[in-house]
């Protein structure tokens, strides 16, 4: 049983590390603000779930697990919210998506 | 490895001087304060680096095990210094805001010009 949990947690951690990395590459390589935001925010949540889940399996039932669950819950609440807030702020300020305008310079004054 | 052990101190020196450069060379008062915060962070880094003991852990006794602890004293000094740092930075920002209200500018040259008039 413990070997199974161990393997599972390593798998989760590896996948988590990968998705975090993919998010980083996406945030760097994507062509405009909204696609970058998409790459960053989706993998942020997925990576957090996988990595923290992997650690939780390692920690077993303890105070640490409860703290990890709290961290995960708060991350899942705040991270998409800040992405949403940021995207709406950018849209209100007039930054247009790439496909529409094909431009991404400084936010209009 | 011997040289790697000094890397933290080098970063301290470089960071300190980057902050100092912003203070001397940038005419914008807010930028000067940002430089000053960097300068502060460099000093914090120096203190904490000095307190680290190889193979040690944070000076909070765990329930079992761990006999080597890092030095608590620099941590105490820096812990208070961070909060003091933000309050003094806020005081500096307050002065900058007042300067802007009186002179209409936060660029050193322009303030000096107005003063000389």
């Amino acid at each position: 049983m413990s070997a199974l949990l161990d393997t599972l947690s390593w798998v989760l951690l590896t996948l988590g590390g990968l998705s975090v990395l993919v998010g980083g590459i996406g945030a760097l390589r994507m062509p405009d603000l909204y696609t970058r935001m998409h790459a960053a925010s989706v993998t942020d949540s997925l990576g957090a779930i996988l990595v923290l889940g992997g650690i939780m399996l390692q920690a077993g039932w303890s105070l640490a697990t409860i703290k990890l669950i709290a961290i995960l819950l708060f991350l899942l609440l705040t991270s998409p919210t800040s992405s949403n807030a940021l995207a709406s702020a950018a849209l209100l300020a007039g930054t247009r998506p790439f496909a529409e305008a094909g431009q991404d310079e400084e936010a209009p004054k | 490895m011997e040289l790697l052990g000094l890397y933290n101190y080098w970063v301290f020196a470089v960071l300190l001087m980057i902050g100092f450069y912003a203070v001397v060379a940038k005419p914008n008062l807010v930028k000067k304060l940002i430089g000053l915060s960097l300068f502060q962070s460099a000093v914090f880094l120096l203190y904490i680096t000095m307190g680290k003991v190889e193979g040690g852990t944070a000076p909070i006794f765990p329930e079992a095990g761990a006999a080597v602890f890092s030095n608590p004293l620099p941590q105490v000094l820096i812990l208070t210094a961070i909060v003091v740092g933000i309050s003094t930075t806020a005081l500096g920002l307050g002065i900058v805001v007042r300067v802007k209200e009186e002179y209409g500018s936060i660029e050193e040259h322009e303030i000096q010009e107005i003063d000389e008039r």
């Binding site: - | 807010v30 000076p59 006794f61 890092s70 961070i82």
Partner: protein, 324 residues
């Protein structure tokens, strides 16, 4: 391996610092300062300073950004003039950096347990804390008891800085011509952040209290807790507008908090004198000296927390009120 992680983070920190100095948009510089704070906090954690990392997290992640942005809103976002004596400053700074780096070759090796810093007073603190105070967190023990004078001084510095900001910015004239209700509405029209923020505020407050009272057993204490609680109330002010926040905690109450903290700290010290001990000697506060020490630390940490909360909130409101 951990050493390599530290080196990597420090390199990122230097890159960030250079970018901060080079950018001529102050808003960008403030954002990059936020990144620098995250990196340096991670570094503190790697260097075994959990308490310091928590302080940097509490202060750097929220409050410092909020204050700088508040100041930018009142001044300007762009640097206009280029520096005139760039070459000269660069030469001076580079020379100084080289001298400092040259000096580091005389420094003891990183992490050397035999270095002079580690061999004088620190082992005594580590050894005597269980005996005299009997709490696991040595940092809190040194902060509250062994070096209580230091901390009292720092609390007064924070207090003075807060008073200074209020003198500079408080009770000022209105600088803006905007309709007041527009300014005061905060982020009330942003539904999603508002709902999530409202859910979070009680948890942040609860976490702040946990950090305050768990400071003797884990990383934490008055300085961190004060900053976290102030951050929670600043979040409320951002979401609901200045006015609502001020009606929850009016300016008079904030002034009271600012003054109460140092008073409480000083009173604990004086109580020690009255009970026949020295100033800030907590052993006499209870019949059992160890219990007395613990009680004293609890009280002065509360004093520190109250001061820091009051001062940071007072500063925030002073900046925010100026924008009206």
């Amino acid at each position: 391996m951990i050493v390599i992680f530290g080196i990597f983070l420090l390199t990122l920190l230097v890159i960030t610092a250079i970018a901060i100095v080079r950018s001529d948009n102050l808003f960008v510089a403030v954002m990059l300062m936020g990144i620098a704070s995250l990196l340096i906090a991670a570094n503190f954690f790697l260097l075994d300073a959990a308490d310091v990392a928590l302080t940097e997290a509490a202060v750097g992640a929220g409050i410092s950004t909020v204050l700088f942005l508040g100041a930018l809103a009142l001044t300007s976002e762009r640097e206009r003039a280029k520096s005139s004596n760039r070459l000269l400053s660069f030469i001076v700074v580079a020379a100084a950096a080289l001298i400092l780096i040259y000096a580091t070759f005389d420094k003891p090796r990183f992490g050397d347990p035999e270095a002079p810093v580690q061999t004088h007073v620190a082992p005594w603190y580590l050894e005597k804390t269980p005996e005299y105070i009997d709490i696991p967190n040595v940092v809190t023990a040194v902060l509250g008891s062994f070096r209580g004078y230091d901390t009292l001084g720092e609390v007064f510095v924070v207090f003075t800085a807060g008073i200074g900001v209020l003198f500079l910015l408080g009770g000022g004239k209105a600088t803006s011509t905007l309709p007041e209700e527009k300014i005061n509405e905060g982020l009330r029209h942003h539904l999603i952040p508002r709902v999530v923020g409202r859910i979070l505020i009680p948890f942040i407050l609860l976490f702040g209290l946990y950090v305050q009272f768990h400071g003797e057993y884990g990383p934490g204490g008055g300085f961190q807790a004060g900053a976290i609680i102030a951050a929670a109330i600043i979040l409320f002010a951002l979401l609901e507008g200045e006015k609502r926040a001020l009606s929850v905690l009016p300016e008079r109450v904030l002034l009271g908090l600012m003054a109460c903290g140092p008073l409480l700290y000083g009173a604990v010290g004086l109580a020690g004198v009255l009970l026949g001990g020295n100033f800030l000697d907590y052993s006499v506060l209870s019949s059992d000296p160890v219990k007395g020490q613990q009680l004293g630390i609890l009280l002065i940490e509360a004093g520190v927390g109250i001061t820091v909360t009051g001062v940071l909130l007072g500063i925030f409101h002073a900046f925010a009120a100026r924008g009206r």
